[in-house]
């Protein structure tokens, strides 16, 4: 267990600078050292650096392969991806990328007849000869013959170039001095020192063997020797790599002094800025104080209701709700709004969408998992939605996925099939009543043990472990061996297509099949069709089953053993395969289902990832950036921007029994969440310390619904908000690969495919702008009969908009026909105009008849110029336009006052605020100056949904 603690120690500390037990504000150093604060053992005096020892020409010390030789090759860049770390090697010589495969690398170095290492003729060894000779070595000259690096390699070879697997050492700690750096105003330099503490008690200065990098070299640039140069104001980390250790060192440079004065004056100017009391606010402020950053003011009520409603429930608040909230003058109205939102059904729906993203609920990957098509994602979603709505503790929800079983306790295979047939037949909500959700395990891209290891780490740990599938993880402690040990765990879980069942259920399944097919042998496709047909008609059909292939001793082996024991004979032990949980040294015997053990580990309060991953993802939903960012990339080299904050939230989340609504409430009611997006001179550049609101483009489903709600009539919008069924945030839109809704796809709905939170995109794009500005769907919504513009026109007593033709193919065809009539009549009139005066009279009657007949047809939907107008200027009627509102209907609007109301409604239902005086005037002028007022109102709605303000968070 000693190793176990080391491993956990490494990862815990990465994210946990200060352990917060309960809540306790640590006033000392919130961005305190990460690993080197464990000074208890640092008393040992480190051996002098290898650089100084091997500067002595006569040194006879034999360097160690693991501690010195391989790190040196790493430092020299030999095992980088461009060089011998490449998967094809270079010059036939391949090292493991980033090292840590000591046996493999030793073999590669010692390979026979390569001359890389020649213990008989040491100086001729290629690993000495090549790097000292630029002509011979494609990678150029790496060191000089007389340098210490040369002597390290030479002495190791001269001693026989040994590596003993058995003497493999655990690195207990990599201590970095200084452990934290705070730069002042002037340019400064700092040299880092790295001290390795090995399990065998040896302590050594290994600075010359480390690799260094900076997470932001505009703030802190670091060179290959570990020498840091200060840059811009801000904070970041430099990272030190040695053996399997990856140690981040916080570097901070406050905003320069004059600005800090400004900061104080800003702070003083702002009224009611007492010391924060909410833990989140306290911890955020501690960090900001160090940086000399002053927070923005709190946002307005209008901003708050829009922000909170969209972030908590994904639903745009109705104009009426906004008005009521603005009119409410009680002190706790924000808190009450948050409660109302958390209790609303939309909360469960929206967060089930998010959790569906993280768990990978993807129709394509569920193809053929169930004998009934296209229901898998729906079941998955409903299962999550009910649990979120009921606020089931997060660890229990996840347990239903991680330890999922197909058959519930006491349920027979046949009963299971009967219930599932009914569920898939349309009783979708009943799936949510089932205890677990095995679909997670049955996905096509979640079958191979390696894919499962990657997917499991992504979903539940927020860790990208895939690098370690092929080589030492460059930013984390994971080695390829760690990856392999972990992925082995998943090999015993079988779950896949609808034909797979446990051996126990095989017979029952065959009987069911026999009944369905009448014993006829059918090929795969025909069988699938037959089953689907049967399921549709309500017949019980066989379902696939998740089962475990892990096996302890067979009954035969047990008997044999019992018999042998009686006779006093000894049999050799039965070999049981084993795997390892990530970062846990103790093996897991695979003689039984490893998933309960995995679940136990996940929910254990010492787990370094599980709670942090969800807390961080939820946080990111509210702030647009995680405390660790990207949110699914928790690794040692990517530490949290505010470790104390993440620690506090994670440990309190656990202390509150993984209560998700507690977490939402804690975040949303903090001042930190309620900051305005308007910045001051100190915080304008801050993007990761939460000093102001960061505007972001709203998620695809939310945008989709917003457009529908904003443009829809009050009645239609109310109905949608009430029922949710039609809304994209409630999974109300198709999502199949190559067949998802165009708008959702364009706005970056998560594809839920590649184990990455980046499967969802909130980046703007050209197609998005084109869609909102000029898609027939948009025009159709604005002009729809059940749209808001029609409603407003009715109130004003003016003509409703002509329903958009583009959206409906029949309407488009009708429009084409109308347009060809227009062209025909123009052609006729042109011909008519060419006639000599005398013949005109003759034909006039006929052409007027023709004109009248066409005009009659077109007038219903379009403006038709008079015959005389056309004769005078046939070329001016270039396209069909809506009819000019008929006599007087425009004049009916009594005054601009009713228009003011319309403009106000338009603003409330799109931007969730009242227009200011100028906006009011611009809008009214626009409507009044329009060809007709209906057009003008359409134009106003068009403009509002195309503002940046509409599509971003406030």
């Amino acid at each position: 267990m000693k190793q176990l603690s080391t491993r956990l120690f490494v990862c815990c500390l990465a994210a946990a600078a200060i352990p917060v037990v309960g809540f306790r504000v640590v006033t000392a150093e919130p961005i305190a050292p990460v690993r080197s604060d464990q000074t208890a053992e640092a008393a040992a005096i480190p051996a002098p650096s290898i650089q100084s020892r091997f500067s002595d020409e006569d040194i006879d010390e034999v360097p160690d392969f693991q501690k010195h030789v391989m790190p040196l090759l790493g430092r020299l860049g030999c095992n980088g991806r461009a060089c011998h770390g490449s998967f094809q090697g270079r010059g036939d010589f391949q090292l493991s990328l980033f090292g840590y495969d000591f046996s493999g690398d030793h073999e590669a170095l010692m390979a026979e007849n390569t001359g890389r290492v020649d213990v008989d003729d040491v100086e001729e060894s290629l690993i000495l000869a090549k790097p000292t000779d630029a002509d011979m070595h494609e990678g150029g000259k790496r060191f000089e013959k007389g340098q210490w690096q040369y002597r390290v390699l030479r002495n190791w070879i001269a001693d026989g170039a040994r590596f003993d697997k058995e003497s493999f050492q655990q690195l207990k700690k990599l201590q970095i001095e200084p452990s934290e750096i705070r730069f002042g105003d002037t340019a400064e330099n700092v040299q880092l020192t790295a001290i390795a503490h090995w399990a065998d008690g040896t302590v050594e200065d290994v600075t010359a063997l480390c690799r260094f990098s900076s997470n932001d070299d505009s703030i802190a640039a670091i060179d290959a020797e570990g020498h840091i140069q200060s840059g811009d104001a801000g904070d970041t980390h430099v990272v030190v790599y040695y053996d399997n250790a990856v140690v981040p060192v916080p570097v901070l440079r406050p905003i320069s002094a004059p600005t800090t004065d400004a900061a104080e004056s800003i702070a003083q100017r702002t009224p009611n800025r007492g010391e924060p009391t909410q833990p989140i606010d306290v911890l955020v402020k501690q960090k900001l104080d160090k940086l000399g950053i002053v927070t923005s003011d709190l946002c307005t009520d209008a901003e708050f209701i829009r922000r909170a409603a969209l972030d908590i429930t994904g639903v745009l608040p109705s104009g009426e709700r906004v008005e009521a909230f603005l009119a409410d003058d009680t002190a706790d109205k924000r808190q009450r709004l948050v409660e109302e939102l958390l209790q609303s059904p939309a909360y469960g729906a929206w967060w089930a969408t998010r959790l569906s993203d993280w768990t990978g609920n993807n129709a394509e990957q569920l193809n053929n998992v169930l004998p009934v098509q296209n229901v898998g994602t729906k079941l998955w979603f409903n299962w999550l939605r009910k649990r979120l709505q009921d606020n089931m503790p997060y660890d229990e929800i996840i347990e239903g996925i991680v330890s999922a079983e197909s058959l519930e306790d006491g349920e027979s295979y046949l009963e299971y099939c009967r219930e599932m047939t009914e569920i898939c037949g349309g009783d979708f909500d009943r799936y949510a009543e089932r205890e677990s959700m095995p679909l997670f395990w049955a996905r096509r891209n979640f079958q191979k043990p390696e894919d499962r290891a990657i997917g499991f780490a992504y979903t539940f740990l927020g860790v990208r472990i895939e690098c370690a599938q092929c080589h030492k993880h460059p930013f984390d402690q994971w080695s390829k061996q760690d990856f392999d040990d972990f992925s082995t765990l998943f090999g015993v879980v079988r779950a896949g297509n609808a034909n797979q069942v446990s051996p126990d259920s095989k017979k029952a399944r065959e009987e069911l099949m026999e009944k369905l097919t009448g014993g006829e042998k059918l090929n795969g496709g025909d069988l699938r069709r037959k089953i689907q047909q049967a399921a549709r008609s309500g017949e019980v059909v066989p379902f696939g089953e998740l089962y475990i292939t892990a096996r302890g001793m067979t009954d035969g082996q047990k008997k044999q053993r019992a018999a042998a024991k009686k006779k006093g004979r000894k049999l050799p032990p039965v070999r049981v395969p084993t795997g390892k949980i990530l970062g846990v040294e103790q093996k897991v015997d695979l003689d039984e289902d490893p998933r309960p053990a995995l679940m136990q580990w996940l929910r254990d309060e010492s787990n370094p990832y599980f709670a942090k991953a969800i807390v961080n993802r939820v946080w990111s939903n509210y702030f647009g950036i995680g405390i660790v960012d990207p949110t699914d990339d928790m690794n040692l080299a990517n530490p949290p921007s505010n470790a104390a904050l993440l620690d506090h939230l994670a440990s309190e989340f656990i202390a509150h029994d993984f209560d998700l609504k507690w977490l939402h409430r804690e975040i949303v009611t903090s001042d930190t969440y309620q900051r305005s997006s308007a910045t001051n001179s100190t915080n304008a550049a801050d993007r990761k310390n939460f000093s102001h609101h960061l505007p972001r483009r709203l998620p695809a489903e939310v945008v989709y619904d917003m457009v529908v709600l904003a443009t829809g009539s009050t009645q239609k919008a109310d109905q949608m908000r009430g029922e949710l069924d039609q809304m994209a945030i409630a999974d109300g839109k198709a999502r199949r690969r190559n067949n998802s809704d165009f708008a959702l796809e364009v706005f970056g709905q998560s594809i839920r495919e590649s184990n990455c939170d980046c499967d969802r995109s909130d980046a703007p794009s050209l197609l998005q702008s084109i869609y909102l500005r000029n898609d027939a769907e948009m025009y159709g919504r604005i002009a729809a009969r059940d749209g808001w513009v029609a409603e407003a026109c009715k109130e004003l007593g003016i003509a409703a908009p002509r329903a958009g033709a583009g959206a409906d193919p029949r309407a488009a065809a009708a429009q084409r026909a109308a347009d060809s009539m227009r062209r025909q009549i123009i052609d006729r009139i042109r011909q008519f105009n060419k006639l000599p005066e005398a013949r005109r009279e003759q034909t006039q009657k006929r052409i007027v008849q023709q004109y009248n007949s066409v005009a009659k047809k077109l007038r219903k939907d379009y403006h038709v110029p008079s015959f005389e107008e056309l004769v005078a200027a046939p070329n001016t009627w270039t396209e069909l336009t809506p009819p000019v509102a008929t006599e007087g209907s425009d004049g009916v609007i009594e005054s601009d006052r009713s228009l003011e109301k319309v403009v106000r409604q338009a603003y409330l239902r799109t931007l969730s605020r009242y227009p200011d005086d100028e906006e009011q005037q611009v809008a009214i002028d626009y409507i009044n100056e329009s060809e007709n007022k209906t057009n003008g109102i359409e134009g106003l709605m068009w403009a509002l949904v195309n503002t940046k303000e509409f599509i971003i968070s406030h």
Binding site: R444, E466, F475, F742, S754, G804, A923, A943
Partner: protein
């Protein structure tokens, strides 16, 4: 930009900064050097038309006939001579036979994926599909590497494309028209055409209202990439909608009737003509689909009466039209289905059909640096497999990229930061360009 690290320890930002100095594999700079040294012939084309034949066209009844194969295999169609001595194709492709000199046939192309979607993903990317990751389409790569001017889309698909931008992301998606043009009719395209009743003047009026109302956040814009990006895309969308360039490119009624007729009057032919207009106007990549090739039953009637006449007129019209307009040298054309069809005729319907068969198929290439009038590769006596070493979809993809001046060994980072080679296993078919 988010700090995003890749598996190989390089941070995204660094990659951008380092640019062409990156060292892994053959970089673009390295590729250009090789091209300059004559070790790889430089690409000629700077735009492309990709014709997808989803369903999987029968190779034996189109471009790889075996008149001497047994009755069970041969099929009902006879070969005819083309304008290139020694090359024969199906009697139902007479117009293409007369422009054989403009394109090359690849025979004995071979792979193993007999399902429609998987096969399509393979031939449309040049990489065998894997569940963990979706490779980008040719169109997406082109849009990323050689984007078009702002007032015209980089890539268009008529009516749709089977392959999306994969891990490159939605912003490299082609603009899908979702419908096909009809002969002599105006053509409306999602987002580009102005839907009924809305004129350019109205859009301009609305835009000026929008500019007056879109004032909040104005003081944040300088600092914020998102707001800045929204503005940029908004302006670009506006110029695309109001400028006549894009709309005019889609307006096939602008072509003289005699020119339009040479493509055939069906929607595929008119799509080919649209493709020509689009690349002429500066669109970088156009995908055109012609479906209906999944001829499990009644193979011969369907081909003879439906598919082959369409393909014959449309494709010959396209190649001829490109040449007439002087665009053939700068436009890479690639025609492929997802697989061939079984050489042995099945007997499930009266006249027989052919089933999925990836082991042997044909593809066509033209334009750019491709030398027309040649056959590359060869199938065996019954067209059941390549006679010698077959050509892989990877090789063809590598060659297509090469023809477009894009290094097929170009590396991208997947969304999770894994370095992915554009076409990992393909090598450029040098004979195509010889």
């Amino acid at each position: 930009m988010k700090l995003h690290k890749t598996c190989d320890g390089v941070r995204r930002r660094d990659v951008l900064k380092i640019g062409t100095l990156s060292v892994g594999g053959l970089t673009l700079a390295g590729y250009n050097q090789l091209a300059a040294a004559g070790q790889v012939a430089p690409g000629h084309a700077d735009r492309a038309i990709f014709i997808e034949l989803p369903g999987g066209p029968s190779h034996m009844d189109t471009f790889d006939l075996k008149p001497n194969a047994p009755d069970t295999h041969r099929g009902a169609f006879k070969p005819i001579s083309t304008n290139v001595p020694g090359i024969q194709i199906s009697e139902h492709l007479p117009k293409l036979a007369q422009c054989m000199d403009k394109f090359a046939i690849l025979r004995g192309v071979s792979h193993t994926l007999a399902a429609h979607r998987l096969g399509r993903e393979y031939v449309n990317t040049g990489s065998k599909p894997i569940p963990a990751l979706e490779y980008p389409s040719f169109a997406a790569v082109m849009s990323k590497e050689q984007p078009a001017d702002p007032d015209i889309p980089s890539a268009v698909a008529v009516p749709r494309a089977s392959q999306g931008p994969g891990f490159l992301g939605i912003r490299y998606s082609a603009l899908e028209t979702n419908s096909s043009p009809s002969f002599g009719r105006p053509f409306n395209v999602r987002g580009i055409s102005l839907p009924g009743g809305i004129g350019v003047d109205e859009v301009k009026r609305r835009q000026s209202l929008l500019q007056k109302l879109d004032r909040r956040f104005a003081d944040l814009e300088k600092n914020d990439q998102l707001l800045d990006g929204l503005d940029q895309f908004g302006d670009q969308a506006y110029s695309m909608i109001t400028s006549s360039r894009a709309r005019s490119a889609f307006d096939i009624s602008k072509e003289p009737e005699s020119f339009a007729r040479q493509f055939g009057e069906d929607s595929f032919g008119q799509s080919c003509m649209l493709a020509l207009r689009l690349v002429e106007s500066g669109v970088r990549f156009v995908t055109v689909q012609l479906g209906g090739w999944d001829t499990h039953t009644d193979n011969f009637t369907k081909l003879k009466t439906q598919n082959l006449p369409k393909l014959d007129a449309g494709l010959s019209g396209l190649l001829t039209g490109l040449e007439q307009r002087g665009l053939l040298g700068s436009t890479a054309v690639y025609v492929t289905g997802e697989f061939g069809r079984t050489p042995k005729i099945n007997t499930r319907s009266a006249e027989g059909g052919r089933d999925h068969y990836p082991r042997c198929m044909f593809m066509l290439m033209a334009g750019g640096g491709v030398r027309g009038g040649q056959v590359i590769g060869e199938s065996d006596d019954t067209a059941s497999g390549p006679r010698h070493e077959g050509i892989s979809p990877d090789d063809v993809a590598a060659s297509f990229y090469h023809n477009l001046g894009i290094d097929p060994t170009l590396e991208y980072d997947s969304t999770t930061g894994r370095p992915i080679t554009l076409v990992r296993d393909g090598s450029i078919i040098q004979d195509l360009f010889a």
